[in-house]
Assembly symmetry: C2
Homo-oligomer: 325 residues x 2
């Protein structure tokens, strides 16, 4: 419906420029993807065969677990190993979105000035369309750009965030000692998708207890498989302690996936999730456009006054959307 | 597609029993709604004209803001005012989901034993279908059951959670002093939907600063309207301090909505959101069923090996779903 609106004469070859390593082209395509522009979709289609090389690593944990600092440290460690890195932060409380404490910000600025690192913070609100779709598209762009590793930082609360975390090749779940709610958050949310467990702020009293609790939970639960038990790595992200071991464990997980053929199966499952995210995004936007029309407003007012019910109006909307197809 | 499966001979009249005040009928209908059972949809349609009386109040704030304790205190205060209360907790870290500290749990048990209070914790994961749809349906059930006030506790991170928070008549956003990320979380997430701002743990040093910061933000931002500026209420939820004033402010907000005609406009907007949630839920489940079929598995594997791209497969899925309509 919406016509392609190239922002410059060269918009058509943004994809080609991205593949050649043009950071500006990458940044502009990311913006196009976030705005769900039609031209972005075509460029993504062209770029897709160029993707699949990057190791996509999820860093998931509740606010306060220090996962942004950890993500920064991971990037620094990967750079030390001469890997190029992309970071996608999907967290409104992330320092990448503007709330960093000073030390973090300095390190992040170092990262920003390193041409082999590309950091992008996804707006989690006000994005036109689905967060999962746009995040996964940005990961593909970073992959096509040639990043060896793409780190996705998510808070792990909310369906979209969990959907995103599941799309990673390797997911690390980050906990910290002594936050009363934390073990609960991990349990309720995301423990079952952990490939690597991280106990951050491991210099705090209580770290050993959290490690013991996680170990007990691993024994009781169905996390992992017979072949892979998630290792528990203790880190102090603020000074980088344990981060090298963490990177080793992430690499070990990749080796495991590749040696067992699980890599391909997981990527097929990720593809399924991505297709669903694309479809849901399109449906959502169609639905938004449809129900914003003034002709439907009367029906919503009728629901408010209880002269109609939302289930019958939903039936009508479904019929209308099918017609539009 | 799925046939109605009554769990007993009397399933057909669950709605009638609910209206008569049968708590077991309410609990069973909530379970049916969460499981997206076909019979639940029919019952909701029957019950809908009975709804609209309850004041739906959202309690939204980041983990650690003490909003579960606050919700409990609010319920106690409403009971003191001889109002009946329903509580829907949409938060994996909520004590209502099992993580309460002892004092909280005792108070919650008192609530549970009060027949005029009904507490339900929504599973935020593993729910078949959309969280927004099922939560809003549960709110309707509590409304039809005759609750004067329905409190929805949400963490306010994630699109679904924000969608739910927006569906309330009155939304309170809860912050606490001295959590570095908190003001950021409030800013990024949910400040703009606040009708009442709460500074909880107001006995902590730093509370005054947070109040001042929030006041400054209110002056700069577009929160509220010319007619309604969100009041800032300081509370100490653990001992109930400030909770009576908070309930007064919630009542004042309702009076404002009713006297200005905004009440009806907001309810129409909520209706729109609910219709969208119902449609999205149905689409999601259809999509899940479709893409789980073995005939699509080959396509996802082809995407994994880069022989196809997810955008083209998404086109195919859209076409297939339109056919199914």
């Amino acid at each position: 419906l919406t016509a392609s609106l190239p922002r410059s004469a060269s918009a058509a070859d943004l994809a080609a420029r991205l593949v050649e390593g043009d950071r500006l082209a990458l940044a502009r395509l990311i913006s196009a993807v976030e705005a769900s522009r039609q031209d972005a979709r075509e460029q993504l289609r062209c770029l897709f065969p160029r993707t699949g090389r990057a190791h996509v690593v999820g860093v998931t944990g509740p606010p306060g677990s220090g996962k942004s600092t950890l993500t920064t440290r991971l990037a620094i460690e990967y750079r030390r190993r001469e890997q190029t890195v992309g970071i996608v932060a999907v967290d409104p409380t992330s320092p990448y979105s503007g709330g960093a404490i000073l030390g973090d910000r300095v390190r992040m600025m170092e990262l920003h000035s390193d041409p082999a690192v590309f950091v992008r913070s996804m707006a989690t609100r006000g994005v036109m369309g689905g967060l999962a779709r746009s995040t996964l598209d940005v990961v593909l762009l970073l992959d096509a750009f040639g990043k060896d590793v793409v780190l996705i930082e998510t808070v792990g609360v909310g369906q979209d965030e969990v959907e995103i975390a599941r799309a990673a090749d390797t997911t690390m779940v980050v906990g910290v000692p002594n936050l009363g709610d934390d073990i609960q958050a991990i349990k309720a949310g995301i423990l079952e998708i952990a490939d690597v467990l991280v106990v951050n702020k491991a210099d705090l009293a209580g770290a050993d207890r959290l490690v013991a609790e996680l170990r007990a939970m691993l024994q009781l639960s169905t996390v992992g498989s017979r072949e892979w038990t998630p290792p528990i790595v203790q880190t102090v992200a603020t000074d980088g302690q344990g981060v090298a071991e963490l990177v080793d464990q992430v690499a070990a997980h990749r080796s495991f996936l590749e040696s067992t053929g699980t890599w391909r199966a997981r990527r097929a499952e990720s593809a399924r999730r991505q297709v669903r995210a694309i479809v849901e995004d399109r449906v959502q936007r169609r639905l938004e456009a449809l129900t914003s029309g003034s002709d439907w407003q009367a029906r919503f007012e009728a629901i408010a006054s209880r002269d109609q019910d939302p289930y019958s109006v939903a039936d009508e909307v479904m019929n209308e959307m099918a017609k539009n197809d």
